[in-house]
Amino acid sequence: MTTPTDTGQAPKRRIPMPNSLPSSMSNSTPKPATARRARRLQEIAAGYIFVGPMLLGVIVFTLIPMIMLLIFSLTDWSFLTGYDKLRISGFGNFARLLQDAEFGESLLHNLIMLLAVPIGMAAALLLAVLISERAYMSSFFKVIFFMPQISSIVAVAVVWQVLFHPSYGPVNGFLSAVGVHEPPKWLADPHYALPSVMLLMIWIDLGVSLIIYIAGLKNIPRDLYEAADIDGASARVKFFRITFPLLTPTSFFLLITGLIANFKTFALIQVLTDGGPAHSTSVIVYDIYQQGFVNLKTGYASAMSIVLFIVILAITFLQWVGQRKWVHQG
């Protein structure tokens, strides 16, 4: 547990040492110091020139909008009315958010939806192992599972709408054929709509996780398995003692990006359910869209975005802290 961090930090600690030594010595001899300082300044200037375009882009397109968002969240402003009507009115929006039952529901839906990420990853890992070790024509399966990812989300949604048709869709046709009397109405049923959407999310994102896991599997040294074979380890033991631990960095990457992407889901909800029926699939981003662009309440929508930002930040931070406990660092 402690060894990986130690080895990770040790080289960093060693690097400053040689640098600090000559610089402390140079203080006694002034002439080379000024020359060095001038060179140092030049280097810094050159550095800024190199990162300048990028920095400018980040400031204009990321930093300024974020600061504006923060300001907007403290106002009752609508983006239609122009900047002269912008009045800071304090934390009223956030106070209202705390009492907004709909927002609470959406947040809950977001948290439930997060389950789709680990479930999807487990499925992807299982498939990755099967495909890379047991299947003929493995590249064929890779393509098959990657298909939903490269298809238009609208097309995918329409296909699933038909599959999930409440009266005579194939899914319910099958369920009634095997004797289920009142099959769920899936996307039109407030209790089943969210699981249906999650199912789709897993299905769409499976391909990416699968490809990344297969790449991760290729990186595991073969000799570990050979050694395990000589020791007489079973397939199960090999999986849990070699494959899974050595894939944890991959899993960590997928988990962190997956959770963030999951939190920001919008397109699928928009084309599939519009947050309905009866608000049962609404998520925060969808609420932001509704408040900001349908009800034209920019201030309130901005406050929602700030809350979303804080929630994502907190979850990512927790994962970053938690990773030391389970991620193998080779």
Binding site: V60, M68, G82, R96, Q161, F164, K185, Q290
Partner: protein, 458 residues
């Protein structure tokens, strides 16, 4: 500190404006109806607020209406006022007013120098008056010496002031597939209640499974959850002057209409199918999946066939059903497009003159059913028939009857937060229609939710 932020905000907005301005002038060059229109557009704003009658003026108009359709109107206006050039910006390519409105909002937000704007409904108009975007027109109307209620069937006053003129006139009726009516041996109804409607719907339902033809179809719009409320001659909104109308017989009737047809009689396409399949009312009606639909007068021309949905059967028209036998049928809220002048427009007079012409003679010229009182219904229908793709597919007798026998209600403009109210109401109504909660729970929950919104917006 704050100044710095404001400065950066101003910088960012200036940047976006210049970007959009770049787009705008590009458009002007591409589609300028006159070769010269691009140049005056640029100088139009500068050329001054004092629009003398023969000084050249350029006003900018943006809407979702296709450019091809608008060009004819604008050419006609050029004949009327040669010194005025109207630069038209088409917001969307598919005639979709909802998408167009979003683009309009962004355009206004980015500081575009638009003069005239158009809204597709009273609710959208009211929402933007709430944001103080539109200029009051009372002085200009007074200068012309007219009263808006004498001139138009719809009164667009909000808080005692007129911020827009009503353009097209929309009211609701029932559109029926006459072939199916004849087959079932039913006459075109002229005076009916919702009970009669259930009866018609049951008799028009036939078939089973995927080939089932339903009696009726209710679209996913919030208005279809309020059918027993919007046929009232007064106070036909969920909230009228701050007073809730949820816990009353009209909303109960509205819910009953949906429950009776969809869940009890199974004569309407189930709501679960409507939302999960995202059904569209045009394809449902023209593909003969449902025999009658409650709809509005924008469908009159479409019943005569469009490129996408050619008319293959005769359509008849019936007034809106009433809630009980004693009440008149055919009552429906008047809605339609509204045209207003932006507050920051520098050509108020010219812009006003244009919308006055557009909403009266202009719409008469293009034979659109408008809110102008002086328009002649018979002339409109005969004019309409010459324009339709298949005029024989419209039952003239019932159309004339409906148009002449639809007592219009005084426009009851919804509050600026109407979309929030509808969202909250539909959320509860959906649960009822889908069989998740009973009537009384629905009413009490919706009542509480709407009261909260009203309180928050006081």
């Amino acid at each position: 500190m704050l100044n710095k932020k404001m400065l950066s905000a101003a910088m960012a907005s200036a940047l976006s404006i210049s970007l959009l301005a770049g787009c705008g002038s590009g458009n002007g060059n591409n589609n300028g109806s006159d070769a010269s229109s691009a140049a005056p557009t640029a100088s139009g704003a500068a050329s001054g607020s004092s629009a003398a009658s023969d000084e050249p003026v350029t006003i900018k108009l943006a809407s979702w209406i296709p450019k091809a359709q608008m060009d004819g109107m604008l050419a006609e206006y050029k004949k009327e006022k040669p010194n005025v050039t109207v630069a038209y910006e088409e917001l969307v390519e598919n005639n979709d007013s909802v998408e167009g409105l979003k683009k309009l909002d962004l355009l206004i937000a980015s500081g575009s120098d638009l003069d005239v704007v158009m809204f597709p409904s009273a609710a959208e108009y009211s929402k933007r008056v709430g944001l103080d975007l539109l200029a009051p027109l009372d002085d200009l109307l007074g200068a012309e010496g007219i009263k808006v209620t004498d001139e138009y069937t719809v009164d667009p006053s909000l808080n005692g002031k007129v911020y827009a003129l009503p353009d097209t006139y929309e009211n609701y009726f029932v559109l029926l597939n006459k072939e199916m009516l004849d087959k079932a041996g039913l006459p075109v109804p002229t005076n009916w209640t919702w009970d009669d409607f259930y009866d018609y719907s049951r008799k028009l339902t036939s078939g089973e499974g995927a080939n089932k033809v339903y009696g009726t179809y209710f679209h996913s719009w919030p208005m279809y959850m309020q059918l027993g409320l919007l046929n009232q001659s007064k106070d036909n909104n969920l909230v009228n002057n701050g007073v809730l109308k949820v816990d009353g017989p009209e909303v109960r009737k509205s819910l009953e209409i949906r429950n009776q047809t969809e869940n009890v009689d199974k004569s309407a396409i189930p709501y679960s199918e409507t939302i999960s399949q995202k059904l569209a009312y045009r394809s449902v009606y023209f593909a003969k999946k449902a025999a009658m639909i409650v709809t509005g007068n924008w469908m009159i021309t479409e019943a005569g066939g469009s490129d996408e949905f050619p008319a293959t059967f005769v359509s008849a028209f019936a007034p809106m059903p009433s809630n009980s036998a004693g009440e008149p049928s055919g009552v429906s809220p008047a809605n339609g497009n509204f045209m207003g002048v932006l507050k920051k427009s520098e050509n108020q007079q010219a812009a006003y003159d244009f919308i006055r012409w557009y909403t009266t003679k202009g719409e008469q010229w293009s034979n659109v059913y408008s809110a102008w009182k002086k328009q002649d219904v018979d002339q409109f229908i005969s004019g309409l028939k010459t324009k339709l793709k298949s005029p024989d597919m419209i039952d003239t007798a019932s159309l004339t009857y409906v148009m002449k026998n639809s007592p219009t209600t005084p426009l009851n403009l919804p509050p600026a937060y109407q979309s929030e109210l509808e969202e909250a109401y539909v959320k509860e109504a959906e649960k009822f229609v889908l069989g998740q909660q009973d009537m009384e729970t629905t009413i009490s929950k919706a009542n509480a939710a709407l009261q909260k919104i009203v309180d928050a917006n006081k």
